[in-house]
């Protein structure tokens, strides 16, 4: 049921720009502030299947600056689920980030895309501090944990996602919310073992070609677009509402609370969403660290 006040709010929008303003329709959302979105800096780590969806959503919503980090090249087998890639780029084996940048220019020329062709552990750590939100669309635990660790340390909201066939997860981490778990909290000895199995007994990385160290997962665009959509929604929630949270210690009613310390599980086979609360580990390597008071 809409109240009288809701109608008044909509009337405030300039009638002349109904058809000419790109962001007219989203400005009609209560609590939406396009300036916050347009001035925001978001880092997207990995522009594979989910990364494409997230970047597309952010570009169309008018996020000001997007850093995209990926050192990989486009393959033909990427094209079934990546909206910003194209056949020609796959034939030429171009960098993913370059192709995404070109594609985004067509979608919205005002958005600044900064491509970084590096491995995550080689980037300048100050970049984490500069961003308003960090989001990871990765395929391995190592890089996820590193992004989690640095985002948590620099108090930047971090949103992680994962997909596998018809299943997907989204989890947000934000250090300013007390008693909320980070990704490192849920890491078990088994996870450490899997990470370490890529290396031989004396610590040298196994590099031979016939020993495939990473499993290729099955993925289709329907799952990635659902998960990428939810992930972009979390990013926008943080961008729009973080000032309100810092001021009042809670999330505003219009924008809603992000999934901090909680994990959303999507099951495409059973058409089900489930949200579980993640437990905080009091001895967690990342989030049990207390910064010295300066």
């Amino acid at each position: 049921m809409t109240t009288q006040k809701d109608y008044q709010d909509i009337e405030v929008i300039d009638k002349e720009s109904i058809d000419t303003d790109i962001f007219d329709r989203q400005k009609r959302i209560h609590g939406w502030d396009q300036n916050k979105v347009s001035n925001a800096k978001v880092m997207v780590i990995g522009v594979g299947a989910t990364g494409n969806e997230v970047v597309k959503n952010l570009v169309l919503s008018g996020v000001g600056t997007i850093y995209i980090i990926d050192f990989d090249f486009i393959e033909m087998s990427n094209l079934n689920r990546c909206v910003l890639f194209n056949c020609k780029a796959a034939e030429n084996n171009e960098y993913k980030v370059d192709v995404v940048k070109e594609a985004c220019k067509i979608l919205n020329p005002d958005v600044k895309i900064i491509p970084i062709k590096k491995d995550l552990n080689a980037i300048d750590k100050n970049l984490y501090k500069e961003c308003n939100v960090i989001c990871s669309c990765l395929d391995n635990v190592e890089a996820r944990l590193e992004a989690n660790n640095y985002s948590y340390y620099y108090d930047v909201p971090f949103i992680d996602s994962g997909i596998d066939e018809y299943f997907g997860t989204v989890q947000a981490v934000y250090s300013k919310v007390k008693e909320s778990a980070c990704l490192q909290c849920a890491i078990s000895d088994k996870d450490l073992e899997i990470m370490w199995n890529k290396f031989s007994c004396t610590g040298q990385e196994i590099t031979s070609e016939d020993q495939e160290t990473t499993r290729k997962i099955a993925s289709i665009i329907t799952t990635t677009s659902i998960i990428g959509g939810i992930q972009s929604q979390q990013i926008l929630k943080f961008l729009l509402d973080i000032d309100y949270f810092r001021k009042y210690g809670k999330w505003s009613r219009q924008i809603g609370e992000p999934l901090i310390g909680k994990q959303l599980l999507y099951n495409g086979l059973m058409n089900r969403f489930k949200i579980i609360e993640k437990l905080k580990d009091p001895n967690c390597w990342t989030c049990s660290y207390k910064k010295p008071i300066s």
Binding site: K125, V141, N149, W285
Partner: protein, 189 residues
């Protein structure tokens, strides 16, 4: 491997080195802090064996002191965060020391240590160094490193299990391997 932010990493290493210092494992004044790693030397005391020089037969001497170089890199405390390099000479199936007797080429220093393979969230420097001590006393001949000296040691310790071997030979005594039938070469005229 992932890494922790520098301040978290540094604090954790300082705490762990303090524990090792209290246990008298670390050689004096060898700790060097760098931007990407922390180096130091460790001395451990436990009974191991070395081969004796210039004999055709394989003969062993017991030794009690070992020297290891430890480098903690930025991956710590994730698996692979500790690089170990065994310096002092030792006759052991799972250790390829840098200083090998009667060999001009230095060894690799590699150590095949179970705790590094099965790194858990509770593993730390102290447990690693203590398990090195145990490794010296209990060689595992079933899983040797792929080097000449290591396979030789594996062969030896398969024939003479360590517990039995220690019982029969007192500390410091010279140990000689008995002649095998294989060693006897019969030349036909």
């Amino acid at each position: 491997m992932p890494e922790l932010p520098f301040e978290i990493w540094k604090e954790r290493i300082e705490n762990e080195i303090k524990i090792l210092k209290n246990l008298n494992f670390i050689e004096n004044d060898t700790i060097a802090y760098h931007e990407k790693n922390v180096d130091f030397w460790v001395n451990i005391n436990s009974l191991g064996f070395i081969t004796k020089d210039n004999t055709e037969k394989l003969s062993l001497l017991q030794i009690n002191s070992h020297r290891i170089f430890i480098r903690i890199n930025r991956s710590f405390p994730y698996p692979g965060g500790i690089d170990l390099s065994w310096y002092s000479n030792i006759f052991h199936p799972n250790i390829h020391p840098v200083e090998i007797q009667n060999s001009e080429k230095p060894g690799t220093g590699y150590i095949c240590l179970n705790i590094l393979k099965q790194w858990s969230r509770l593993s730390d420097l102290e447990s690693t160094v203590k398990s090195l001590q145990k490794l010296v006393e209990n060689p595992n001949p079933d899983d040797p490193l792929n080097y000449d000296i290591c396979s030789k040691a594996a062969e030896f310790f398969k024939k003479h299990p360590v517990e039995e071997f220690r019982k029969n030979h007192k500390n410091g005594e010279e140990i000689e391997e008995e002649n095998d039938e294989e060693d006897v070469i019969i030349v036909d005229d």
